[in-house]
C-alpha cells in the first residue's frame, strides 16, 4: 500500500502537471504533491509499519516470472524518506525562481521523483531496471531544457554514460535470472542464487559499472562535475542529493549480496580506485573557483568513502553507509540551496568575486557555516556519525587485506575536505565586501525556513542518530549475512 502510493502520487500528479498552464498553480500543485508524498513516507515509518502496509504485489509479466513487487525494507524506508524530504525542500527553496514552460518543468520533476521512489521500493529486478531508467529520462529533459550554456552536450554525455552502464546491468540481470531455480526476477530468488565463482568474477564488473557510473566512482566520474555545473540548481539537488544514492543503493541491494565472491575478490581493487578518486577529487576541489564545481568534487570524495565502506563488509561500516546516504543527501541539498541563493542574488558563482557576506547576510552566513561544517563531518553534525562509523568499519574489516592503508589514506581526505570547505567559507563570507556583494541582502523567509529545517535535521541526527540506525539495522544484518556466509 505505502510503496504503491509513494510511486503513484508523484507519477499521477506529474502527469496532471503537464496540463496546468498557470505557473503559480503548478508550483503550488507540485509542492502539495511532494508534501503528500512526505506524509505517506512518514506514515510508513511510524504508524503503518506492519508488513501488510509495506508490501504490494501484483501480477505483471508472469510469462517471464516478473511481478509488480514493491516492498519497503529498512534501507528503502530511509531513502524514500530522503527523497520525500528533498523534493519539498527543493520546491520551497526555489519558489521565487521562474522557469519558461513551468508546467513541463514541474511535471518532469515529479516524474523523476516517481522513478526514484520506484527504484528504492522495487523488489523485482526487471521492475527495478524499469524505474532505474525512468528516473533518468526526466532528468535528461530537465537538464537539457533548463540548464546552462553547454547543457546539451554535457547532459548528453551524462545520459550516454548512465545508459551504457545500465545496459550492462541489464545483461547481468538477465544472466542471473536464467540461473534462478524458479525462473523469477524476485529479489528473494536472486538472493538464493549460488553463482559459480568463475562467473561471479565477470558478473561483478558487468553490474558494477552501472552503479559506479551513477555514484560516481573514479574513473567513471567524468560526467559529474560538468552536469552538476550545467543543470538548473533544482535539478542538481535531485541529481546529487538523491539520484547518486541510486548507485550506492543498487550496489548494496542488487550486487554485493548476490555476487559475494566477486565483491570479495574485487573489493580491494574497487576500493583502491575509489580512494584514488577521493584524493583526486579533493585536490581538484581545492583549486576550484566555481562554487558548483567545488561542491560537485566534494561530493565525489564523499561518495567514494561510502564505496570503500561497503566493500569493508563490516556491521559498523555498513551502518555508516546507510546513515551517510541520508546525511549526504541532506547536507548537499543544503549546500546547493546556498549556492543557488548566492547565484540568484549576485549572478555569479565565482568565489573570487564574492566576499564579506557575513556582514550583509548574517542569517545566510550562520546557516551556511553549519551546513558547511556538516560537510566537513565535524562532531555534533550528522556526517560525523556516518563518517566515524564508516572509518571504524573500514579499519575493522576482516575482508580487505589493506584495511589500515585504506583507512589512513581515506582519512587524509577528511583533512582535505576541511581545507577546501573552510577556504570556501572564508572567501564567501568573510573579508571585505566586493563590488557585487556591497549591496547584498539577506535571505527570504521561505529560504530561511528550508535551511533551518535542514540544519535542525543535521544537528538532530548528529546528536541522536539511534532512530535512523534502528531502521536500517535489519537490512544491514541481512546483507552482511549474505555476504559473509557465501565467502569461500
Amino acid at each position: 500500500m505505502i510503496p504503491v502510493l509513494l510511486v503513484l502520487v508523484p507519477l499521477l500528479c506529474g502527469i496532471v502537471s503537464f496540463f496546468i498552464r498557470s505557473e503559480r498553480t503548478v508550483k503550488t500543485w507540485a509542492l502539495v504533491s511532494s508534501l503528500v508524498t512526505l506524509v505517506v513516507s512518514l506514515l510508513g515509518l511510524t504508524f503503518l509499519k506492519s508488513e501488510n502496509f509495506l508490501t504490494a504485489e501484483a501480477e505483471w509479466i508472469p510469462m517471464l516470472g516478473s511481478s509488480f513487487y514493491l516492498k519497503l525494507d529498512g534501507m528503502g524506508t530511509l531513502l524514500c524518506l530522503l527523497t520525500a524530504v528533498a523534493y519539498p525542500a527543493i520546491f520551497i527553496s526555489t519558489w521565487h525562481q521562474t522557469y519558461s514552460k513551468a508546467h513541463n518543468f514541474f511535471a518532469l520533476m515529479l516524474l523523476s521523483q516517481a522513478g526514484l521512489m520506484g527504484v528504492f521500493v522495487a523488489y523485482d529486478a526487471l521492475l527495478f531496471y524499469f524505474f532505474w531508467e525512468l528516473a533518468l529520462i526526466p532528468a535528461y529533459f530537465l537538464c537539457s531544457q533548463w540548464g546552462g550554456e553547454r547543457r546539451i552536450p554535457v547532459t548528453f554525455k551524462f545520459f550516454i554514460y548512465t545508459f551504457i552502464g545500465s545496459l550492462f546491468m541489464l545483461i547481468g540481470i538477465i544472466y542471473m535470472y536464467t540461473k534462478t531455480p524458479d525462473q523469477s526476477y524476485a529479489l528473494e530468488s536472486f538472493y538464493k542464487l549460488n553463482i559459480p565463482n568463475s562467473d561471479q568474477m565477470w558478473l561483478f564488473w558487468i553490474m558494477f559499472v552501472a552503479f559506479a557510473v551513477k555514484m560516481p566512482v573514479f574513473p567513471f566520474h567524468t560526467w559529474q562535475p560538468d552536469t552538476y555545473e550545467q543543470s538548473p540548481t533544482a535539478v542538481t539537488m535531485v541529481l546529487s542529493g538523491v539520484m547518486v544514492k541510486m548507485g550506492v543503493f543498487g550496489l548494496i541491494r542488487w550486487l554485493v549480496p548476490i555476487v559475494p565472491t566477486g565483491a570479495w575478490a574485487w573489493g580491494d581493487t574497487v576500493s583502491t580506485f575509489a580512494i584514488i578518486g577521493m584524493i583526486y577529487a579533493s585536490l581538484l576541489a581545492m583549486r576550484q573557483d566555481d562554487l558548483k564545481r567545488l561542491v560537485a568534487y566534494s561530493s565525489i570524495a564523499h561518495i567514494g568513502l561510502m564505496c570503500v565502506a561497503i566493500f569493508a563488509t563490516d556491521n559498523m561500516g555498513m551502518q555508516g553507509v546507510m546513515i551517510q546516504m541520508f546525511n549526504h543527501g541532506i547536507n548537499i541539498i543544503g549546500l546547493w540551496i546556498v549556492v543557488e541563493l548566492i547565484e540568484r542574488q549576485f549572478k555569479t558563482r565565482k568565489m573570487s568575486e564574492l566576499g564579506g557576506l557575513a556582514q550583509k547576510a548574517p542569517a545566510l552566513s550562520v546557516l551556511l557555516v553549519i551546513v558547511a561544517l556538516a560537510n566537513v563531518a565535524l562532531p555534533l553534525t550528522n556526517a560525523f556519525v556516518g563518517e566515524f562509523l564508516m572509518f571504524a568499519g573500514i579499519f575493522n574489516s576482516n575482508v580487505s587485506q589493506y584495511n589500515e592503508v585504506f583507512m589512513v589514506t581515506a582519512g587524509i581526505t577528511v583533512i582535505l575536505s576541511a581545507v577546501y570547505t573552510l577556504n570556501m567559507l572564508q572567501k564567501v563570507l568573510f573579508g571585505n565586501t566586493s563590488q557585487l556583494t556591497a549591496n547584498g541582502k539577506d535571505i527570504r523567509l521561505n529560504e530561511r525556513m528550508t535551511l533551518v529545517v535542514l540544519v535542525v535535521v543535521i544537528l538532530a541526527v548528529g546528536v541522536y542518530p539511534k532512530p535512523i540506525l534502528e531502521v536500517t539495522q535489519s537490512t544491514v544484518d541481512m546483507i552482511l549475512s549474505k555476504m559473509i556466509n557465501k565467502h569461500p
Binding site: P62, M63, F130, L134, S144, R151, F159, I160, F163, T178
Partner: protein
C-alpha cells in the same frame, strides 16, 4: 488461408476501383475497408473460423505464430493507411494501382509467413519483391527514384538467383522441398547441403538487409518515395524476418551448431555498420535507413538463438519496430526538410507531433516503458539463454548505446533548438491516430504479456 486469398482478391478490386471512380477518397476508403476485412478475417481464423478449405498438402501451415504475425502486420498496415493514405495519393497519378500493389504484397506476406516448403518460400518472397520494385520507382519523374528502383531490381534479382541456387542444392541433397523432410535426418551434412544452407542464409540476409548484404538499403530507402520507404522498412522487413526464422527453425534447427557462428558474425557486422554509419547521417530519412539496418541487427539475435523465446521476441520486436517506424515516417514525409535541422523547434510549433515523435524515438532507442525496450530485452534474453554467444550480447549493448546518439539528436532538435515554424499538414484525425499509435507503444511496453499471451491462447 483467409488472408492470402482475400488480399489477392482485394488487390484485384483495388486495381479496378481506379477505373470506376476518379475520387481519391473513395479509393482510400475501399483500401481501408479491405485492410479491416483482412484483419477481421485473420482474427477469425485465429479463433478457428476458416472460410477457405483448400488442401495445400502441407505446403502452407497456418499455425498460431504465423496467424498472429499476420494480425500484427495487418494492424500496422491499418495504422499505415490511416496515417499515410493521403501521402500515397501525392506520389503520382496511379493511386489505385499503388494500393493494388500493396495488397498483392500482403498476399506475399501471408505466404512467406506460413510456408512449409522451399517452393512456397520462394513464391512468397518473390510476390513481395516484384511489386516493391515498381513501388520504389513510382515517383516516375524523379531520377533518384528511378535509380533506386533499378538498383533494387538488379540486386534483388541477384539475391533471388542465390536463393534459387540454394534451394536447388538443398533439394539435390535431400530430394524434397518440404521442410519436414529437410529437417529430418540431418546427421550427414554433405558439402552440397552446406553450400545450399549458406546460399539460403545469404539470400535471406539480403532480404532483411543484414551486413554485408545491406548495400542496396540506404540508396533504395532514400530514393524511394517516403511513404513506400516506410512500408518497405517495416512490414516487408518484418515479413522477411519471419520467413527467415521459419526457414531456419523449421529445417536447420538440429544443425544449429554448424552455422550459428556465421549468423552471429553477420549479426555483429550488421549492428556495427548500421549503428556507426547512422551516426554520421545528416538526413533523417537516410538515418532511418541505417537505423533499419541497425534494428535488423537486433532482430538477427532471434536467428542466432532460434529458441522459443526468440520466436516470441521476434513477433514482439516486429510489432514494436513497425509501429514506431511507421509513426516516424508518417510525420517525416509531411515535412519539407528531411535533415535534422528540419526538426528544430518542433516542440514549440507542433507540440503534439513532437511529443508522439519523442515516444517513437524513445521506443526505437529501447528506453523502458516503451515497446522498444521489451523488444530489445527479449532479444538479449533469447541470446543469453542459449548460453553461447555472450560476446554478441556485449556487441549488441554497445550498439544500443550508440543508437541513442542518433535517435536523441532528433529529440534534441525538436525540443532544445530553435527553428522557423514549418507548415506540417496535420488534421485532428492524423494527430489522433498518431496518439493512438504512441499509446499502443507505451501500452505494449508496460504490458508485453497482452500480445504474447495470444500466442498461447489459441493452442
Amino acid at each position: 488461408m483467409n488472408a492470402i486469398v482475400l488480399s489477392a482478391i482485394w488487390g484485384v478490386i483495388m486495381m479496378f476501383s481506379g477505373i470506376f471512380t476518379k475520387r481519391l477518397t473513395t479509393v482510400r476508403v475501399i483500401a481501408l475497408i479491405g485492410i479491416t476485412v483482412l484483419l477481421a478475417c485473420t482474427l477469425m481464423e485465429l479463433n478457428g473460423i476458416d472460410f477457405f478449405h483448400i488442401d495445400t498438402h502441407r505446403m502452407l501451415l497456418f499455425d498460431t505464430f504465423s496467424l498472429l504475425f499476420n494480425a500484427v502486420i495487418f494492424t500496422c498496415m491499418l495504422i499505415y493507411f490511416l496515417l499515410s493514405g493521403k501521402d500515397i495519393e501525392k506520389v503520382g497519378s496511379d493511386v489505385a494501382e499503388y494500393y493494388a500493389l500493396l495488397f498483392f504484397i500482403l498476399a506475399g506476406v501471408g505466404i512467406a509467413s506460413s510456408f512449409n516448403t522451399l517452393l512456397m518460400l520462394f513464391l512468397g518472397i518473390e510476390i513481395i519483391s516484384i511489386p516493391l520494385y515498381i513501388l520504389t520507382g513510382s515517383d516516375k519523374r524523379n531520377l533518384k527514384s528511378n535509380e533506386a528502383s533499378l538498383k533494387y531490381f538488379l540486386m534483388g534479382a541477384f539475391s533471388t538467383g542465390l536463393m534459387l541456387m540454394g534451394i536447388a542444392l538443398v533439394y539435390g541433397s535431400k530430394g524434397s522441398f518440404s521442410l519436414d523432410v529437410i529437417a529430418s535426418n540431418t546427421a550427414d551434412l554433405t558439402p552440397m547441403m552446406s553450400a545450399g544452407i549458406l546460399l539460403l542464409m545469404f539470400s535471406m540476409a539480403f532480404k532483411v538487409s543484414a551486413a554485408p548484404f545491406h548495400f542496396w538499403t540506404p540508396d533504395v530507402y532514400d530514393g524511394a518515395p517516403g511513404v513506400f520507404t516506410s512500408f518497405m522498412a517495416t512490414i516487408v522487413k518484418a515479413a522477411a524476418f519471419i520467413a527467415f526464422i521459419r526457414l531456419f527453425r523449421g529445417s536447420f534447427l538440429d544443425i544449429q551448431g554448424k552455422w550459428q557462428l556465421i549468423v552471429a558474425i553477420i549479426t555483429a557486422a550488421t549492428l556495427f555498420i548500421g549503428n556507426i554509419t547512422a551516426v554520421f547521417q545528416q538526413s533523417v530519412k537516410r538515418m532511418l535507413a541505417y537505423s533499419s539496418i541497425a534494428q535488423a541487427g537486433f532482430m538477427m539475435f532471434a536467428i542466432v538463438s532460434l529458441n522459443e523465446i526468440a520466436m516470441e521476441g521476434l513477433l514482439y520486436y516486429a510489432a514494436a519496430y513497425c509501429l514506431a517506424t511507421i509513426g516516424v515516417f508518417a510525420i517525416l514525409v509531411r515535412m519539407k526538410d528531411y535533415t535534422f535541422d528540419g526538426y528544430n523547434g518542433m516542440g514549440k510549433h507542433h507540440p503534439t507531433l513532437a511529443a508522439v515523435n519523442t515516444v517513437f524515438m524513445l521506443s526505437l532507442a529501447g528506453i523502458p516503458a516503451t515497446a522498444g525496450f521489451m523488444a530489445k530485452f527479449y532479444m538479449l534474453y533469447a541470446a543469453i539463454s542459449t548460453g553461447k554467444v555472450l560476446w554478441l550480447v556485449i556487441v549488441g549493448i554497445v550498439c544500443a548505446a550508440i543508437s541513442v546518439y542518433y535517435y536523441f539528436r532528433v529529440i534534441q532538435a525538436m525540443y532544445f533548438k530553435d527553428g522557423e515554424k514549418q507548415e506540417i499538414e496535420s488534421g485532428p484525425g492524423f494527430k489522433l491516430v498518431l496518439g493512438i499509435t504512441a499509446g499502443l507503444i507505451v501500452f505494449l511496453g508496460i504490458f508485453p504479456q497482452w500480445l504474447l499471451d495470444r500466442l498461447y491462447d489459441f493452442l
